[in-house]
């Protein structure tokens, strides 16, 4: 075990060993040294018995040092008894410890002052063995009784009192060395466990502690010094006794009174600080109460918060007064308070009118005096407003039509609202604390933590699983189609991700239905293309066969009638074909690929070669860009537009210009002609299916071509329009996305 080097331990051990060593040295001097008697006579050497007393006292103090074993304390008690014995035996005139030693007739007897001081000190040592209040009082009493004769002797020697009377003999009988050692031992006794509280008081930051620490040394120095100076002046003969006393008293008065004034002022100032703190505390809500809940004090803050006045509240039980809802069972809180001395938590109190008050409550178990039962100090901070805002926020999150799930950077769910729990079929609160992977279908679960890491590294608000169909795994094992948006959230330095989950079951169902209906439409279109055309072909064929066989016998009218019938059937057939291609724009469309438009125009012009020749048209071609498109459909658009330009030509030679300009993010492809043009008010109408501006006799056609063009361009995400001046020509423009930059 390492030696105890704490301050109380050193405070005790140094005087104890000094006293024991000094006693031993004195005994050594008495043993055969003739100078001993002279030293004793001059008041500096203790008697041999006094020396033994000092040794025993020093050992006794050592034995009751802080942290000493019980055996050691027992030894201390025995040594104290021995000390009492030594002191008491001095009172018997003819028999004493002095007479036991050899050559006792030469040795002086221990003084009465020393004996009484040792006796008192023995009592103090004995008292220090018992750690209760009575023991402490015995120590204080014993030490006071030790200090008095020791101080008497010390001052007597200092002031040169002559032992010319019995009283003065008593005072000076104790040698100066003994008195100093005894005073040191008294200080040493402050290091014992019994004096712990006294030590605390001596060092306390309280006004009392401060007062004592400043006044006691000052009084000692001033009084002892003033007394000495007065005697010195008198001895030299500067002044007589009356003047000396005057000087002593006036000096002491001036110095001590000014010190008291200074100290009193500083105490006042610190008291003012305490009072301003107390005033601030009054604004807070502080209640003191007994442990069973009886209100002892009720401050202004509590009056304001709860509506009960202090005189109404004091004496009543706080639990009846405020109907508190605790976050834990009260018994548990009480147990914690008793164990740790304090407790903090959020409590709902109810004010006088019954309205709830959310308070952050801090309880401290406080004991003014060990004899009193501890009381509970409750400090309650009103957080109702904050809780109201939190409650509103929580209500908004709860009521949100989308599922919200907050996930920390380890993948643990830290928040989930009602809709999220509904989507994933969990009961209230069951999602909290689970790993997010539990909501991921098993086929992608292993990959999911990797996705999460990637996201955290480059966190930005975006939707999850771009281009993929996302499914959530419900608690019952079924899957639900979802759309998920991700937002990085930093909360108190911790990075989290807020996932917004939307149940898209309905949308998915609608999409499926649309796809089914599209498939049906396509089947219908196929059936129509064959089964509708078949009878039309029969009508046409037999009309023609009729003319072929019996043409000679039919007059002009009859021939015209039959011609109308054939034309009608043929137009019907073209309508069916055009409708078919119109309906196939969405369902039979190919993939969007980079397309060289120049090549597409080549193919279109090849299709139209006969019409171009027939119209004797001039085609002007500018270089065209590469675009992202379905090449077959774009060819249909260009063929239709160039075909229209040829068909609706004016009187002069047709001139068709094909070029492209960059329009923001897209290419605008233009096909301009010098044809008959369109009235501006019809510019929109021509793109509607079956809308025609001319009779079939003027310009044949089904009214499907431009509607088909618009449908194709819109499928590509582009727009189509026309700018025209009647009689001067038209310019059709449609936009397409540029092809992605070619990688060299």
């Amino acid at each position: 075990m390492s030696p105890d080097r704490s301050l109380p331990s050193l405070l005790l051990k140094i005087p104890a060993s000094l006293a024991a060593l000094a006693g031993a040295a004195a005994l050594w001097l008495w043993h055969g040294h003739t100078a001993a008697a002279g030293l004793h006579a001059s008041g500096w050497l203790p008697t041999p018995v006094g020396a033994v007393g000092l040794i025993v006292a020093g050992l006794a103090v050592w034995a009751v040092r802080p942290g000493a074993a019980t055996v050691s304390r027992g030894v201390g008690g025995i040594l104290a008894l021995l000390l009492v014995g030594i002191a008491v035996l001095r009172t018997i005139p003819t028999f004493g410890p002095d007479t036991i030693f050899r050559g006792a007739e030469r040795w002086p007897r221990m003084s009465v002052g020393t004996a009484s001081a040792l006796f008192a000190f023995a009592l103090a040592v004995a008292g220090s063995i018992f750690a209760d209040g009575r023991g402490r009082r015995l120590v204080v009493l014993g030490l006071a009784a030790t200090v008095l004769p020791a101080l008497f002797a010390l001052l007597g020697h200092l002031y040169g009192v002559r032992p010319d009377s019995f009283i003065s003999g008593l005072v000076t009988g104790m040698p100066a060395s003994t008195s100093i050692l005894l005073l040191l031992l008294v200080i040493g006794m402050l290091g014992t466990d019994a004096m712990e509280e006294t030590r605390g008081f001596l060092g306390a930051p309280t006004p009392g502690g401060r007062l004592m620490r400043r006044l006691v040394p000052a009084i000692v120095v001033v009084m002892v010094g003033a007394g000495w100076i007065r005697l010195l002046g008198q001895r030299i003969g500067w002044y007589g006794t009356e003047f000396g006393v005057t000087i002593l008293v006036s000096t002491c008065l001036v110095i001590l009174i000014s010190m008291v004034v200074m100290i009193a002022r500083s105490i006042d100032q610190s008291d003012a600080r305490d009072r301003s703190q107390a005033a601030m505390l009054r604004l807070a809500n502080v209640v003191t109460r007994s442990q069973d809940g009886t209100v002892l004090s009720w401050n202004v803050g509590s009056e304001r918060l709860y509506g009960w006045r202090a005189e109404e509240a004091v004496g009543r039980n706080v639990h009846e007064l405020l109907h508190p809802d605790y976050p834990l069972p009260l018994a548990e809180i009480t147990a914690r308070l008793a164990q740790e001395g304090h407790w903090a938590g959020e409590v709902i109190h109810h004010a006088r009118d019954g309205s709830p008050r959310f308070v952050a409550s801090h309880w401290v178990l406080h004991q003014e005096d060990p004899r009193d039962a501890p009381i509970v100090l409750e400090m309650n901070t009103d957080v109702t407003a904050r809780r109201g805002a939190e409650a509103r926020f929580a209500a908004v999150v709860e009521a949100a039509p989308s599922g919200m799930v907050m996930v920390d950077d380890r993948g643990v769910i830290t928040l989930a609202n009602r809709e999220a729990e509904r989507i994933f079929a969990y009961a209230r609160g069951e999602l909290l604390g689970r790993r997010i992977e539990e909501l991921v279908p098993r086929r992608v679960r292993e990959r999911h933590p990797g996705y999460r890491e990637q996201y955290t590294e480059a966190a930005a608000a975006r939707s999850m699983g771009a281009g993929r169909d996302l499914y959530g795994l419900r608690q019952d094992g079924s899957e639900i189609p979802v759309e998920i948006g991700l937002n990085p959230v930093t909360w108190g330095g911790e990075r989290s991700t807020l996932a917004t989950v939307v149940d898209i079951t309905q949308r998915k169902r609608a999409e499926d239905e649309l796809r089914r209906s599209n498939e049906e439409l396509e089947r219908f279109a196929y059936v129509a293309s064959h089964d509708l055309q078949e009878p039309l072909r029969t009508v046409t064929s037999y009309m023609q066969l009729f003319v072929r066989r019996y043409g000679g016998g039919i007059d002009g009218d009859g021939r015209e009638f039959i011609e109308f019938a054939v034309q009608g059937a043929q137009r019907m057939q073209r309508l069916i074909e055009d409708l078919l291609s119109f309906s196939r724009v969405g369902t039979r469309g190919g993939a969007m690929v980079p397309v060289d438009l120049d090549g597409v125009v080549d193919l279109s012009l090849a299709d139209l070669a006969a019409a171009v020749r027939e119209a004797d048209a001039e085609i002007v071609r500018m270089p065209l860009p590469a675009v992202l498109a379905d090449p077959g459909q774009i060819q249909q658009v260009i063929t239709n537009l160039v075909g229209n330009a040829l068909k609706f030509r004016g009187a002069e030679r047709p001139r068709i210009i094909i070029d492209a300009v960059r329009d923001d993010a897209r290419w605008a492809i233009r096909i301009a002609d010098n044809g008959i043009g369109i009235q501006p008010e019809y510019a929109d109408r021509i793109f509607i299916i079956f809308q025609r501006l001319h009779t079939r006799e003027e310009y044949p056609g089904t009214g499907v071509g431009l509607a088909l063009c618009r449908k194709i361009v819109e499928r590509h995400g582009g727009r189509i329009g026309v700018v025209s001046e009647p009689g001067r020509g038209s310019t059709f423009t449609f936009t397409l996305a540029p092809a992605p930059e070619a990688v060299p």
């Binding site: 072909r537 046409t540 064929s541 066969l545």
Partner: protein, 147 residues
């Protein structure tokens, strides 16, 4: 030498139109019409006590009930006594996959029926002209296994 044709076609107006077109060629001596593949096979093999009918050319429609043209082609080409017979597919379908499928199954010609009567008559004329004057075809008497 008499020229005989087996027309496999279920649509009555088309049957009549084809017969009219064939008649205009003035080459054909006998045309037997059956409505589907099953009836065609029965006619070729001779069923229910009837003599087997061996045409010089089979004109075959594709879309028919019971056994369609493709199935008939497959059955015909897997029958050793019938596989030599020339077959011209005569249909409204212009679908690429139909053309390819028919030649894969052993069709000798694939011809689309035109909606225009004059053109249709012209095509039938060309087909008969090709098979019965340009091309050499096996004679019924030379057919092995034939009585």
């Amino acid at each position: 030498m008499s020229i005989r044709i087996l027309l496999v076609e279920d649509n009555a107006p088309d049957v009549r139109l084809t017969i009219e077109a064939l008649r205009e060629t003035k080459r054909i001596d006998e045309t037997v019409v059956v409505p589907d593949g099953v009836a065609a096979l029965n006619t070729l093999r001779g069923a229910e006590g009837k003599e087997p009918f061996t045409p010089d050319l089979i004109l075959l429609d594709l879309n028919m009930p019971r056994m369609d043209g493709r199935e008939f082609l497959a059955a015909l080409r897997s029958d050793p006594s019938l596989r030599h017979l020339p077959v011209t597919v005569l249909t409204t379908s212009q679908a690429e996959q139909d053309v390819l499928a028919c030649y894969r199954l052993g069709a000798n010609t694939y011809v689309t029926k035109s909606a225009d009567l004059d053109r249709f008559f012209e095509v039938i004329g060309q087909v008969t002209n090709f098979w019965f004057s340009t091309a050499h075809i096996p004679t019924a008497e030379a057919t092995p296994g034939h009585a």
